[in-house]
């Protein structure tokens, strides 16, 4: 235990816990979460039926508002209160004594601490990553179910309602519960370390952001058990189909609220952390590109996410409360839904991409032993994507029937995004040049990402050009494109990040051979699964169909088999992660010989990250520059001796 840690513990001893059964039932934790969820659900039912009875609305017992208010709003709040997310604030509000320096819920001392509310950004980061991996596996299984159905034309195993449900929940889980929060989780772990901060700016808000996430995931998945079936209008949930969908649709609308609230809170936290908590000397132009990437992503999240929240609330009111926002019969504006939805969901594409750009920049620079090529232009192109990203939403609507003149300006801005994106790709390639490349697992994922993202980016040019888009819109070509950017792009970078920081997060090393095997099996089966989709799309196969013409039978069979192999390749990943975490060799503090700050402390880092505040003295990627240093640390770090030497000069 370090001295600071001891100091904190002696300063603020944990409150004397109430003894025995009382503590078990009333203390923060899963038991309290269980009964409080039930209690809050009951209160919710009381409010709805009470108001309906008083107002004389028939029937008093109406499932739709009860589901919305009691089960999808009140019960999750009960669970959050029960698990302990609000304890500190409730103590403060009710005037009971609180300690400003209360660190009793900080840091993990045993595996049990990962199942409790914890304010340590490192614990939260691990909680995030493992939770999102679980949802990724769930989403992948759903995809394999519907690929089994699509292996042959005609209907085999499932009915169209189940099929549409599987497709919709697959996409929603992967987007809202895997890619977006997985990036938030990785950044949660490494970002404070990278900027030399002891934690995030708002640790309790950080914990709350995480604990809202399982709520969203459980709601999405449980829409399958709703009478009538899961939400089945696609993840885009277009009106008016959403209105005539089964009640499972409410589950999507509310799950998005929980995931969105979590996302916004995290983004605010990142912004404040980056702006106010950088170590001395860490100017904006000395920040690692991962920090830059999360800075721009967080700006996107804060500005854009309220739009999807709004679009889903309007839809919910149309369904439950009888409003007419998007109902044509009542004067509603159907296309309005799409405009609001895409005003979030296009920037969301960059929310799912920019943090990956950051991860890959770290990995490529370190594994090439070279400074990142054109660092400033790399940071500026992130900002360019941020700004342009808000001006392209209607390219999802070229065939929607919106004002026809809007198509050309939206096409121009869309194609212009290729410029900053191209700058990034060329700069990564140039970073490799004259480097000394180490093909470790993270590097393989990073290079796999660059090559697959080029394909995804180029198919994006086809989709940006209006005449081609009119032909391929809503076909398998689009399915191929989104999977090249979200799997070949986002998932590959998440994998690069997980392998790269695995030694830092767990203190143990993963199995390099299994890591490489995982990469190659995923890389090959991914291409076999998704590349043929370009062709069947252009040829005439629409997306989101449970049945198709026999003409496409052979390719669909091939794609289904390849997709099962793609799913199977993740067994290697899970095995490697679980076994290495439990029994892998102890990792060094800095196995990659990286310069950024997170590698200058032990693996895993001490509870408050740095024993003394680090002093940043140079750029983060000065590999090969004689005598260059990114930061100077006094104690505990791996390069202490070297740094002592530097300071002596």
């Amino acid at each position: 235990m370090t001295t600071t840690e001891q100091a904190h513990h002696t300063q603020a001893p944990p409150a004397v816990p109430p003894a025995g059964a009382r503590r078990l039932i009333f203390g923060a934790g899963w038991i309290r979460a269980a009964w409080m969820s039930a209690l809050f659900a009951g209160i919710g039912i009381g409010i709805v039926t009470g108001i309906r009875a008083l107002a004389g609305w028939e029937p008093v017992w109406d499932w739709q508002p009860i589901m919305t208010v009691a089960f999808l709003t009140a019960a999750p709040i009960g669970y959050l209160v029960g698990i302990g997310c609000f304890d500190y604030w409730l103590y403060y509000i009710s005037g009971r004594p609180t300690r400003a320096e209360d660190h009793s819920s900080h840091g993990a001392h045993s595996w049990r601490d990962y199942f409790r509310v914890n304010t340590d950004h490192k614990v939260i980061g691990v909680q995030y990553v493992t939770t999102t991996i679980i949802f990724m596996l769930a989403g992948g299984l759903l995809a394999m179910f519907f690929r089994a159905e699509l292996a042959r034309p005609g209907m085999q195993f499932i009915d169209p309602q189940t099929y549409n449900g599987l497709v919709s929940v697959h996409a929603s889980l992967m987007i809202f519960l895997f890619i977006i929060p997985a990036f938030a989780g990785l950044a949660n772990y490494v970002l404070p370390l990278m900027i030399g901060a002891p934690d995030m700016a708002f640790p309790r808000l950080n914990a709350l952001s995480f604990w809202m996430l399982p709520v969203a995931g459980v709601i999405m998945l449980s829409s399958f058990v709703v009478p009538g079936g899961a939400f089945a209008a696609g993840w885009t949930n277009y009106a008016p189909l959403a209105d005539v969908n089964p009640d499972g649709n409410i589950f999507f609308q509310m799950a998005v609220q929980w995931a969105g609230a979590s996302s916004i809170a995290t983004a605010l936290n990142f912004l404040v952390t980056i702006i106010t908590m950088r170590a001395p000397g860490m100017t904006f132009w000395r920040m690692p590109l991962l920090v830059w990437a999360n800075f721009t992503t967080s700006l996107l999240v804060v500005v854009a996410t309220p739009f999807i929240a709004g679009s889903q609330f309007f839809l919910l009111f149309d369904r439950v409360a009888g409003t007419d926002f998007f109902r044509p019969d009542g004067g509603g504006y159907v296309l309005g839904y799409q405009h609001i939805f895409w005003f979030y969901s296009h920037p969301a594409v960059y929310i799912m991409m920019l943090p990956g750009f950051g991860i890959v920049s770290e990995v490529i620079a370190v594994m090439s032993r070279k400074p990142i090529f054109g660092y400033r232009l790399m940071a500026l192109s992130l900002m360019a994507i941020l700004v342009l990203g808000f001006s392209v939403w209607a390219h999802h609507m070229f065939v929607s029937g919106m004002a026809t003149w809007l198509r050309v300006p939206m096409m121009i801005t869309t194609l212009l995004i290729a410029v900053p994106t191209g700058i990034k790709v060329f700069s990564w390639c140039a970073t490799l040049w004259e480097g000394r490349l180490h093909f470790t697992t993270p590097m393989l994922w990073a290079l796999g990402f660059v090559s697959m993202f080029v394909i995804g980016g180029l198919s994006g040019i086809y989709l940006g050009a209006v005449p081609i888009d009119i032909h391929v819109s809503d076909t398998y070509f689009v399915v191929a494109h989104i999977h090249y950017v979200l799997v070949g792009g986002s998932l590959f970078t998440i994998m690069a990040g997980i392998y790269y920081w695995f030694p830092k997060m767990t203190g143990r090393m993963y199995d390099e051979r299994l890591g490489k095997l995982h990469f190659w099996t995923t890389f090959i089966t991914f291409n076999l699964t998704f590349f043929p989709m370009h062709w069947i799309g252009v040829q005439g196969m629409p997306r989101r169909v449970s049945d198709y013409v026999p003409e496409f039978a052979n390719w669909n069979f091939f794609i289904s088999i390849a997709s099962f192999a793609l799913g199977a390749s993740f067994v290697i990943f899970i095995y490697n992660m679980v076994v290495s975490w439990a029994r892998g060799p102890i990792a060094e503090a800095n196995p990659w010989r990286a310069l950024t700050l997170e590698w200058q402390v032990s693996s895993p880092p001490p509870i408050f990250n740095f024993d003394e505040i680090p002093q940043v003295v140079g750029n983060p990627y000065e590999y090969g520059v004689p005598g260059a240093r990114h930061a100077v640390l006094n104690g505990g770090g791996a390069r202490t001796e070297e740094l002592e030497e530097v300071r002596a000069h």
Partner: protein
């Protein structure tokens, strides 16, 4: 850069370029071309394809060359050459993509304007989409579950939806348009080939979405006129 390195680069580039170009040329990418609008669409498609083949070749060759040339053993502790950037190069790879996307934008804009133009004598057909069927009504009041069109004359489809969103698509015509409840949308098709083509709904519209199909039948103008007149007589 040494001469040997340049030769290696060129060889890798030629191989990658040849492979990608073969995929572009020898795979039968586009469906049969059956409308005049498709001419413009196919032009933009191939323009984009050749630009993409070029960009992909450059990037892939760079990566392959670097992987072959600059790899090192795991116990090599040395660092690479500390190159921080090169303003000239950075200007080039900002400017060249900018020019290329401008070219694609201009070509797309021109084609789009042309494909929206129905000329001065279009056949107007009112299309009604509902879960899960298509209906086509002609100016003389004749309704048909299949779309019959005369060869060589622009047909202007006016699309309506009864319940939810649907989308009209005939892959061989290359034109697609959503039908939206509450508003009228518009699509121009000028068939240039006789035959029967599938009409496909491409916007998820519910349980029967996959089977919401019809046919488009392109007829000789005289035959089409006879069909329309007979239809009137039948009413």
């Amino acid at each position: 850069m040494r001469k040997g390195a340049i030769v290696t680069m060129v060889v890798i580039g030629a191989i990658v370029g040849a492979v990608v170009a073969c995929i572009a040329v020898f795979v039968d990418w586009l469906p049969e071309q059956a409308s005049e609008e498709r001419e413009g669409i196919d032009f933009v498609f191939w323009l984009t394809t050749w630009i993409c083949v070029g960009i992909f070749t450059v990037v892939a060759s760079l990566i392959i060359y670097s992987v072959m040339k600059f790899r090192t053993s795991p116990d090599d502790d040395a660092d690479g050459l500390p190159i921080h950037g090169h303003t000239g190069l950075e200007v080039v790879w900002t400017a060249v993509p900018f020019i290329l996307v401008t070219v694609i934008s201009v070509a797309s804009g021109v084609v789009l304007a042309r494909n929206q133009d129905a000329g001065n004598n279009p056949l107007r057909v009112r299309v009604t989409a509902q879960q899960f069927a298509w209906s086509f009504r002609y100016p003389n009041g004749r309704e048909s579950p299949v779309l019959r069109m005369p060869l060589g004359r622009s047909t202007e489809l006016r699309l309506h939806a009864r319940d939810v969103l649907h989308s009209f698509w005939v892959p061989q015509f290359g034109q697609k348009q959503d039908a939206v409840p509450g508003i009228e949308t518009r699509l121009v098709v000028t068939p240039k080939k006789l035959g029967r083509f599938p009409v496909i709904c491409t916007e998820l519209c519910g349980l029967g979405h996959a089977v919401m199909r019809s046919r488009a039948i392109v007829m000789r103008p005289a035959a089409f006129r006879r069909w329309l007149a007979r239809a009137r007589a039948n009413r």
